[in-house]
Symmetry: C2
């Protein structure tokens, strides 16, 4: 099975190449390498921090590839309780919908560049290049794996285990891999309340649990948004429920 790779071209770039532009001078934001550098016809969009670019239950008119920055996807209950279902970073995509409306909202956690592809255009693209469909299927399948892992976390792990899992995931190593090297730095692009809403906890519990991990000697925190993994092996054991 040949694999489609999407190459990200950092914006702003090639201002004249895109066929439309919503917010910023357009750029080619992705290239379908296996199809002879065909342009992924799309619009480059700058989303400022805190700005919502997808709203749950609105018509699903477009599909986005993240070029740079970080976005959070979330769902809310009537009384304001929120669950963040995932964070998407450069290369990630957001908004693949079979249904007519979005099933979640999405908001930029920091300044974020997106590559916007309209629904109709995605459909045409998919029909023209079978590899795109393959790529989307692979992405969806791997998101599904991540979602199942997160259900295990939300349904069955303790606060300590959740934080340990989260830090390791940010460090780029899943549960199947060996832990990252000691001293690995993890930058938290998101605020405490986002971490809390992602892990199904409160800000206070996140704060207290991080303190406890610090006291245990597993991490240090030079800044509230920078965490150094001092003992990744211990974190790994914690995350797996062997702590």
């Amino acid at each position: 099975m040949n694999t489609l790779r999407i190459r990200l071209v950092p914006p702003p770039h090639n201002p004249a190449a895109c066929d439309a532009c919503a917010v910023r001078p357009a750029s080619i934001c992705a290239v379908l390498e296996d199809e002879g550098l065909e342009r992924l016809a799309a619009v480059s969009v700058l989303v400022p921090e805190g700005h919502e670019f997808i709203t749950e239950s609105e018509p699903a008119e477009a599909f986005f590839v993240i070029t740079s920055g970080t976005a959070k996807l979330f769902k809310m209950l009537a009384d304001g309780r929120r669950q963040i279902t995932g964070f998407a970073q450069a290369g990630g995509f957001v908004g693949l919908a079979v249904q007519e409306t979005y099933g979640f909202s999405a908001e930029a956690v920091e300044e974020t560049y997106l590559c916007r592809v309209s629904r109709g255009r995605l459909r045409r693209l998919v029909n023209t290049f079978p590899a795109v469909k393959q790529y989307l299927l692979q992405q969806a399948a791997s998101e599904l794996v991540a979602a199942q892992e997160q259900m295990l976390l939300l349904g069955r792990k303790t606060a300590h285990e959740r934080l340990a899992s989260f830090l390791l995931a940010l460090a780029g190593r899943g549960r199947l891999h060996e832990p990252p090297p000691a001293g690995t730095e993890v930058r938290l692009a998101m605020a405490r309340d986002d971490v809390a809403d992602y892990l199904g906890l409160t800000v206070e519990t996140v704060s207290r649990t991080l303190k406890s991990l610090r006291l245990a000697g597993y991490v240090t925190m030079p800044l509230p948004s920078l965490i150094v993994l001092v003992d990744p092996g211990a974190l790994r054991r914690l995350a797996a429920g062997q702590g």
Copy 2:
């Protein structure tokens, strides 16, 4: 976009038509309608209640379509804590994997017939019939929607809200639809501990919460495994966090 529909033929059926058989006389278990009734070359398998047919981290050698019965998909932690990530029923599929190994285990909740498609065969099928790829993508996307809904449940809903959501989901109406008619009966194919592990609770809490819903007049339970939705509107409000 033309849609692929998979028609399920109840087993045992057409004993000579399949090209291999693992457990029971083979049957054609699904037909690709849009491709002129081409046979989905596959093996029909009977899985007895409680039997595990997919094991996490084993090589992902096959893909299954459920013909009849119910299966549970789950992940476990080292100390035995378990999270059921979903139940699959007739028409559902299990085991779509991009990775080389399964990311979860699967077990029959009741006697279940499966349609087993080997990985290589699925790949060939997908290449021959583009509609199959489309179908898989759609299925994966809708599973992703369900997974996000479940993350909201596990991360942010109370025990009462979880049970209400669960009952409505079993009754076949998601959160976007109007509630099912009063008097709708929901059969629980799975035991209490499965419900608990699916909702991120304990058996005791499931039991107590069902009692509380009974006392509130929202449901009745002629049998432990049969729940009548007396006030679906109230359940709907509870499930949405407006209870």
